[in-house]
Symmetry: C2
Subunit: 410 residues, 2 copies
Amino acid sequence: MTITKQTGQVTAVADGTVVTPEGFQAAGVNAGLRYSKNDLGVILCDVPASAAAVYTQSHFQAAPLKVTQASLAVEQKLQAVIVNRPCANACTGAQGLKDAYEMRELCAKQFGLALHHVAVASTGVIGEYLPMEKIRAGIKQLVPGVTMADAEAFQTAILTTDTVMKRACYQTTIDGKTVTVGGAAKGSGMIHPNMATMLAFITTDANVSSPVLHAALRSITDVSFNQITVDGDTSTNDMVVVMASGLAGNDELTPDHPDWENFYEALRKTCEDLAKQIAKDGEGATKLIEVRVRGAKTDEEAKKIAKQIVGSNLVKTAVYGADANWGRIIGAIGYSDAEVNPDNVDVAIGPMVMLKGSEPQPFSEEEAAAYLQQETVVIEVDLHIGDGVGVAWGCDLTYDYVKINASYRT
Amino acid sequence: MTITKQTGQVTAVADGTVVTPEGFQAAGVNAGLRYSKNDLGVILCDVPASAAAVYTQSHFQAAPLKVTQASLAVEQKLQAVIVNRPCANACTGAQGLKDAYEMRELCAKQFGLALHHVAVASTGVIGEYLPMEKIRAGIKQLVPGVTMADAEAFQTAILTTDTVMKRACYQTTIDGKTVTVGGAAKGSGMIHPNMATMLAFITTDANVSSPVLHAALRSITDVSFNQITVDGDTSTNDMVVVMASGLAGNDELTPDHPDWENFYEALRKTCEDLAKQIAKDGEGATKLIEVRVRGAKTDEEAKKIAKQIVGSNLVKTAVYGADANWGRIIGAIGYSDAEVNPDNVDVAIGPMVMLKGSEPQPFSEEEAAAYLQQETVVIEVDLHIGDGVGVAWGCDLTYDYVKINASYRT
């Protein structure tokens, strides 16, 4: 295990995955659901884990999300999560719900688990039924393990238009014990938080109760997954699930525990890391865009404006074209319902200040174009109203986004 | 004058323009502001006309909008509107405001008008200063007239990334007199009502007071210009101005006048016609998309959902690719904050019902693909909740949208 980066009390684990925390295994197989690639995966825990989840805010929650909610409602514990692509099992009516419940039952039977200890997730096309014959056969082939190959088999089984696997892993120390948080995610289009879909699965060996885990996850989701956008479209299937095996052996974590911040930060970093990977791998994207807003009335308003800027098609195409058209950033701030003083706004692209106190500043077009050709583009805005800060992540809008989405089903 | 289309009490005038109503002249010249095309235009009225305007809701209203508001504040009358491209004179601070006031003064002087009878509009790049030397010289070259060539000189002087001129003209009868409404507009990108920019200029010879005209314009804007979207980005410069010369000689119009509906309908049709022309000429667009929502709780919610669907990048790319991926329509409805019953929604693309009572319906992929290749694509949604109806217009998202916007300034 290589340790690469030290941030506060948290350490990034370069080759860490969802199976790095104690007690977790994973698998992925090709069940032949559409292509000849992995399309069915599972994460399994040695024990019933404390668990929590957050779901899409769409009116049309997909069937698997309803089943996962039913599972968690019983005792807020999970021992497995079963996932398939590229069928979202969304808008599939009564049959779709029946299929999702059967998928849960098949997984429970395969690994000898209680029904309510299994979560279900799906991603892909909306409005198509699951090919249940293939799901039934596929689940029987799943043999979880703890190697990097097992983790990658899972990581690939959940992708749709993604071009890269997404994983993250951070460690910290609690009561003198090493606690690890690992995660896997998918998502490339319909991302705002988040459709066709964004899924994230996070494992940890921390000893923490489900309600405390849930509160931390909700708070962290607001500053990580909920702050990314690829295309402004929110999915019917978005879900983030976290499972805590408790096998690290620390005293039970609550916000009063002296090392609480370490755990929170490890969980936050894992989520932010995965969120940024999703934004960077946005459909057709060539660049990650990070927008930092400060001086807003509240953090809420700063986050909203940051997301509005990073979600603007005109900002995204300008970044793609390496064109320092900062007027489009102003455009996006302009239609926000947050408090803005139009006579005192600063805008910078990378190190170049383009607007100060709402007066245009001279800058070198060549330097700006060079900066905009980098892999990560940072846009900073100061509203000079209050102390609110917020960050959001997105990507540029390219020909390939159009290409990918003009023929997604066909 | 060819009469083509009879709708209720209103008749479309096929070759009508802003100079068709009694009392109006127009001109457009090339002032050399950037290219060798017309870039400075004026509409002139023989008398001070009753006038009203609606403006962008952006926090950053451009300087010309502030000047127009100052003009209208005096006695709600206008006799001329002077327009330039391709510099929006937005985010240009104190200098920009001074320039816009000077533009008003130059126009008033040129045509012997009171300062407060002149409105100013600009469209183009945000954050650049007006080349005032060229504006000064250009205004002196403006010689308004009443021919189609004069109207077209104006119509072309206001375009930016537009590929076609936008004009509309409708006639009706009030007190036995013919009353005409004519309009010109521009807009192709930053349309959501709307930035880099949407402008519309409407003339009529109806006898109607400014406050009544303003109320009618606001109500009509909500179901026409405010219901179009090209890219979800709202401009700093959007403005719709209407001038009524009163020269048709009808009795003064109020909502109590027996022919009020005729006038309202002529004005509404002119606005809807121009709005649809803008949506259809959206940057890079190949198709007009019309979304009709019924069964919503209120008209407000129906309009909001219609606009959300027509604004979804994923819906827009699917229409471009002629892919009947109706799940994306559900996606866009799903993230609305309007009231939705996820278990009872109908979705149709053209004549093909794809979802009924939230159950997927079989349809022919070939027929759907053929339908989606037409110039106008109609999407219909029934929410089965109430009586609310709403319509919105947009366009498909294509490679050319990205191409145009990756290098707009350069």
